[in-house]
């Protein structure tokens, strides 16, 4: 269960996603927007993820589906790390 990327993602979400529920209680695949993340909060999440992981999301990745769950964020981060622009 120890996954450092997902742990870091959860830390960013806890600080910036402003979810009504506890981030730790939300499953990896659950829809964060349905859980109450606003589009405004999602921008702050993106900025904090860029800072935390020292990456830049290309424009094509700046969309709802990329940031809708802990899993989708982890996949996106791995893609950027594997093939940086």
């Amino acid at each position: 269960m120890t996954d450092p990327i997902r742990d870091d993602i959860r830390r960013v979400l806890a600080e910036h996603a402003r979810l009504p529920a506890d981030v730790q209680s939300i499953p990896d695949a659950a829809d964060l927007f349905a859980a109450g993340m606003t589009s405004h909060a999602s921008v702050n999440v993106m900025l904090a993820l860029e800072d935390t992981f020292d990456v830049e999301f290309p424009d094509a990745m700046l969309k709802r589906s990329v940031f809708e769950s802990v899993d989708s964020i982890a996949v996106a981060l791995q893609q950027i790390k594997v093939s940086p622009e």
Binding site: P20, F33, A34, A35, G36, M37, T38, S39, H40, V43, N44, M46, L47, E50, E56, F57, P58, D59, A60, L62, K63, R64, S65
Partner: protein, 391 residues
């Protein structure tokens, strides 16, 4: 290919005729009395223009979005309220056509829309959300007998009292989060509209958009299954900004044409003499040209992005910024072009009963600042520009 071009040409010719013969003739009266443009909308129904965007397989006109956008411009040029009502209706139709996902109920509905030329209003804004379309307070609520209900306090519902059906944004269920939204299409006969306010406005008076407490009772089939956020990104927001901008471009174009008629009349009176007003009008024309290019390129971008697999580019933040910026530009250009004409023409443009009058145009063009308030759009853009890489 030729068939599509033919459908577009016939459609545009009938729209131009309606704009010139019907909408223009009643524009001043519609504005003065703040009344629904019954004659123009009646003529649009008769020409089957309300189903123009519906594919032919459902009985619609199969007309292209480009032709419908030009129609919004042509109608807006004659009567801004008619143009705006037409634009809003087409946004609703396009949303259903693009997101029905094979739903039998909505397919049947489209057939009915074509047959009866039904006019669809939308209930998106809500008291208490601060103008944020991506959040709702009202929710789809089970009535207990298998049917569903909703009750929404809407600050403006354009032509709500004149519509046949309403497309309303609500939360998916009573326990859903504010951002977990769906759209419901309910018929006027399933709806109770309790008036909550008046519509005595500066401009766009004929859109008849007072507030209502909206109550409706409907079946589960009438809920569009696609997530609202997807419909908002791929259709509602970009199409609203594009089609509204075509209406405002039409308003500005008509104001400019009035200025040009005035300048030409002056030039004819004293041939050969310098016409300082023409120089001043040339500046207005340059801005109109810029405005027209911006509107056209936004439509071309939308077409290209919409044709991409899964309409993928439309779901990015770059797309949100693109169409937000179009709306902001339109809201600056349209009133400035109208006031530019006022300065060129002078008192004859200031008079309401003059053929060169642009008072109605100026008032109608101001709606561009408020239809999604510029400040709200700047607030969204301000956060997006920090993360988007290319704008």
């Amino acid at each position: 290919m030729t068939v599509e071009v033919d459908a577009d040409q016939a459609f545009r010719a009938s729209i131009r005729r309606i704009a010139d013969d019907v909408a223009r003739a009643h524009a001043d009266g519609v504005d003065r009395e703040a009344r629904f443009p019954t004659e123009a909308v009646g003529a649009l129904r008769e020409a089957r223009a309300l189903s123009a965007l519906v594919p032919e397989e459902f009985g619609g006109g199969g007309v292209s979005l480009e032709a419908v956008a030009r129609a919004c411009h042509d109608l807006g040029r004659a009567c801004a309220a008619t143009g705006m009502i037409f634009a809003m209706h087409q946004i609703q139709v396009a949303t259903i056509v693009r997101h029905l996902d094979g739903s039998p109920w909505f397919q049947d509905y489209l057939g009915e829309l074509c047959r009866d030329q039904r006019l669809i209003a939308s209930v998106t804004s809500e008291v208490g959300t601060g103008g944020d379309m991506s959040r709702s307070i009202a929710a789809v609520t089970p009535a207990g007998d298998g049917e569903l209900t909703l009750e929404k306090n809407a600050p403006t519902v354009s032509y709500g009292a004149h519509s046949d059906d309403l497309l309303t944004t609500v939360r998916r269920a009573p326990e859903a989060e504010a951002s977990d939204q769906v759209m419901v299409l309910h018929r006027a006969s399933q709806t109770e509209l309790e008036p909550a306010g008046t519509w005595d406005t500066i401009g766009m008076r004929g859109t008849c958009s007072p507030g209502f407490l909206v109550r409706a009772r409907f079946s589960a089939d009438q809920v569009l299954a696609a997530p609202f956020s997807k419909m908002m990104n791929e259709s509602i927001v970009p199409l609203s900004h594009i089609l509204w901008s075509h209406v405002w471009l039409g308003v500005a174009t008509d104001a400019f044409e009035r200025g040009r008629s005035f300048v030409r009349a002056s030039a004819r009176r004293t041939p050969g003499a310098p016409v300082p007003a023409a120089h001043a009008l040339s500046r207005v024309m340059a801005e109109l040209s810029m405005f027209r290019s911006d509107v056209a390129s936004a439509l071309a971008d939308f077409r290209a992005w919409s044709d991409a697999p899964d309409r993928e580019p439309l779901s990015t933040m770059v797309s949100v910024l693109r169409f937000n910026n179009l709306k902001l530009a339109a809201s600056e250009h349209a009133p400035r072009i109208c006031s530019g004409v006022l300065e060129v023409v002078g008192i004859m443009a200031y008079k309401n009963d003059s053929p060169y009058g642009v008072g109605r145009h100026m008032r109608d063009a101001l709606s561009a600042r408020l239809m999604v308030a510029n400040e709200r759009i700047h607030a969204i853009d301000a956060s997006l520009l920090m993360i988007a890489k290319e704008v």
